[in-house]
Subunit: 550 residues, 2 copies
Amino acid sequence: MTEPTPAASGSGEPNKEPSKNALKKAQKEKEKAEKKAAAKARELAERQKKDAADAEDVSKDVYGELPLCGSKDFKPTGTPREDLSKVDQVEDKEITFRCWVENARPQGAKLAFLNLRQGLNTVQAVVAASEKLSKQMVKFAQNISTESTLAVTGLVKRVKEPIKSATIKDFEIHITKLFVEVKAEVPLPLQVEDAERPLPSDEAGQDEKESDGRPLVGLNTRLNNRTIDLRAKINHAIFVIKSGVCSLFQEFLSQQGFTLIHTPKIQGAAGEGGANVFELKYFDRSAYLAQSPQFYKQMLIASRFQKVMEIGPVFRAENSNTARHLTEFTGLDLEMEFQENYHEVMGVLEDLMLFIFKELNNRYKKETDLVRSAYHVDEFKLPESGKVPRIPFQEGIKMLREAGEELGDFDDLSTPQEKHLGRLVLEKYNSDFYTLDQFPLAIRPAYTMPSPANPQLSNSYDMFMRGQEICSGAQRIHNADLLAEQMRKHDPPIDPNGAGTKDYVDSFRYGCPPHAGGGFGLERIVQFWLGLPNIRMTSLFPRDPQRVAP
Amino acid sequence: MTEPTPAASGSGEPNKEPSKNALKKAQKEKEKAEKKAAAKARELAERQKKDAADAEDVSKDVYGELPLCGSKDFKPTGTPREDLSKVDQVEDKEITFRCWVENARPQGAKLAFLNLRQGLNTVQAVVAASEKLSKQMVKFAQNISTESTLAVTGLVKRVKEPIKSATIKDFEIHITKLFVEVKAEVPLPLQVEDAERPLPSDEAGQDEKESDGRPLVGLNTRLNNRTIDLRAKINHAIFVIKSGVCSLFQEFLSQQGFTLIHTPKIQGAAGEGGANVFELKYFDRSAYLAQSPQFYKQMLIASRFQKVMEIGPVFRAENSNTARHLTEFTGLDLEMEFQENYHEVMGVLEDLMLFIFKELNNRYKKETDLVRSAYHVDEFKLPESGKVPRIPFQEGIKMLREAGEELGDFDDLSTPQEKHLGRLVLEKYNSDFYTLDQFPLAIRPAYTMPSPANPQLSNSYDMFMRGQEICSGAQRIHNADLLAEQMRKHDPPIDPNGAGTKDYVDSFRYGCPPHAGGGFGLERIVQFWLGLPNIRMTSLFPRDPQRVAP
């Protein structure tokens, strides 16, 4: 609706005497127009004042807020942005870089200090008023909101005293240009500096506690605001390490001739027993999410792939609310044929893990130290001999009994017993990593090859880090008739002719070679390597029975 | 039930005259016993005969069927098994290797020819009767069932005429020891040699046809017997290439500083629109399978990860029964911040693909040639200049119109139009790979950044191989308010405060840098690189609306 002007209103209907209402209306409109004119005048005066101020502002072209990148108003500069990790190579030079603001603080009207971050690096920057640099620009710098993204230009200057609050200790930036690329809203739902600090010590994830007068933020608050939480350097380091474990897994196995496979996560029937499986609607029928690539990786060995590996999601509909269970995690799986003895495969698994540990120490030391320093965790001990302790299950039972635990020859170990055994092994072998071999047959899956030495045992193994399981594996039965028999005898029995099992069992009828393999939990490797109190910290957006968001 | 002996029957009830029936019965039992005794005698005679034969069999210790590996009766030999690809280094030497039988055929009573396979290699082997090698062993070799797994020892001998039927042409194996490790049942449900041959030419996957007198087996039969089908060399080659594309993707991006991420496949709400999403039961509520990692990879850019990549399953509940759609496929995703222009990211994507193509030609030439030879597909053409054709969408429309297609300025391209454009681009630029840039805004997702040049266009792009889409990408809106506005204006509208969208939209409130990215379909890259007629051939165990098994 267009607002009528006072003039139009006065001259619209010349032949009629204006009514009282019309007069009132006219009066109102007149007032409105006057107000409007006054506002315009004020605006003009302010603009002139501002223009005058700008005229005085010697820095007016070198600071401010940039229009949205990609919008019509945005003008590219073409200036290359530098990597802060190379700052020591450009002393006394001017560089431009993107970063974000950890905090900005004034020191009087003429000085602003900024803590700037880029990746895992932080640097101190100064905006100091001078003949060439205006007080207005200093004020602008002092008021930049935390977490805003900036384009900064400045001189790299060596400092006399190392800067404690930054990771770059020997240099600071004397800012010459300062643009806010993307402004962060205030307040933040979570402070990044709070996310840098460890969880409350009793944290299963729920409470928020006081310690040294500063609040320790609980896991749930952090996970509810995960995109802010993940900005913490400690979290970046965790996920750089996680990415690294994957690369190292693939690097080692590729060199050994493994083929990377992708097996279906949607399955027509729940093959491996049927419990703990998520059901989904698949067009006009039901389907299920894979609890592991077990059947498929073995079927590929039957298809003569010889050595296969997979990195992919694994789904467990288990209502476990512990610090080491997730309903969705990343499985590092491998399966390979062997010549005569499944210990050949155990050797590959052990060498693989030794390679990963060694290269984590070489290539990811900075990240490892950063995380461990927050949680004060001991270094991860590896056997000096390079030989991974390979302990028969029966021997493990004996060690535990001698240490006072009560358990039967063929009992599975409880989590506390596993941890206890981990301490005993560390004492005896000086290693945080070891293998238990020849588990009782009754506590393993139906496809596990029985032991030739003792029919109550099996050619199967688990691997442990700091006394907690990270891998389960075995020689698998590669003969269809024996497999079917073991499935029927299993507790609970499995139908070898079932919808989810027949194709699997039949794949061993046509000359499948002997094979063994294992499945690692990626998040557990990261958790125990770093000694983190909760596995949720190693999943970008963790899933558990209570949590499916964000 | 125990069978009564004749004696017991005759002396059981001494005080009674035997009845007629009893006499008949006794007579019958007597005959039975006599038959049994005769059978026993025959068995004994045969055994003695066999023992005598064995005594004569000079080879009796160097051939036979081995007990199940891992069982009590299995005795390891400790002999290392060799890799057949190194056979040219061991001329005139004796080697032992594992392999399987492609076929075994007699030539008289004194000669057996075996075609043996290991990985992608095949070799001819001979068992020839001599003073040192028995006719019995030759007979044994002649009768080994196809696809059985063997442990073979033999002399590596150079041949005068190249062997046409094997990949190893200059050498054959003169067998000295021959053990069946795992016997294959007969008949096979599918012949591996049939799986080596191309699909029927009209194959959308259903029919079985005759061609040159030999049956061409249809896709459904192959997929129903996938573990046999996958044994074909052509299928091994396809999946070695697929594994290679993944490695090359990671290798290139790792060197550029990308972090490998794993985002959740189970989501609490269907964020990206809601159609085509699989629903699952998640404890006492519903959840959904991720249609892409789109929201999460962007949220990680908001968490300052700068450059992220993901390789993982992608789920589409789309009832599309075409030769290029799957309900589960492998997404190769990446997302990165850029400095000033989303073309920086397009450059990374183009360089990535050029690297992959180049290294497929370098490292996977053998496998590529093997597959393409079966399907008679042209080499994949890349621009000689090394510069990928980057064609504005409006220019593409113009090219199509000049070639007779009728379509509006802002219409999406149909699949036939895409293919037509592919042919035009190939003609003009001599490249099977190119990019279309600046798509109409209306046909792209709500989070796409509008074009600064024309509000009806957008900063988005698709990439094509042989005229078919393999990648879709764009600059994303990194401002929460603009994103919410675009979501509301979208057709159909999306609620920016919905359960699946609020966390995503809010993550752009706190200084998220400008970013762009893209998602590739791994199976499509493999399909179009090799020129395969059906995408199902590039999935180990494909999933489509009709198929969830094996």
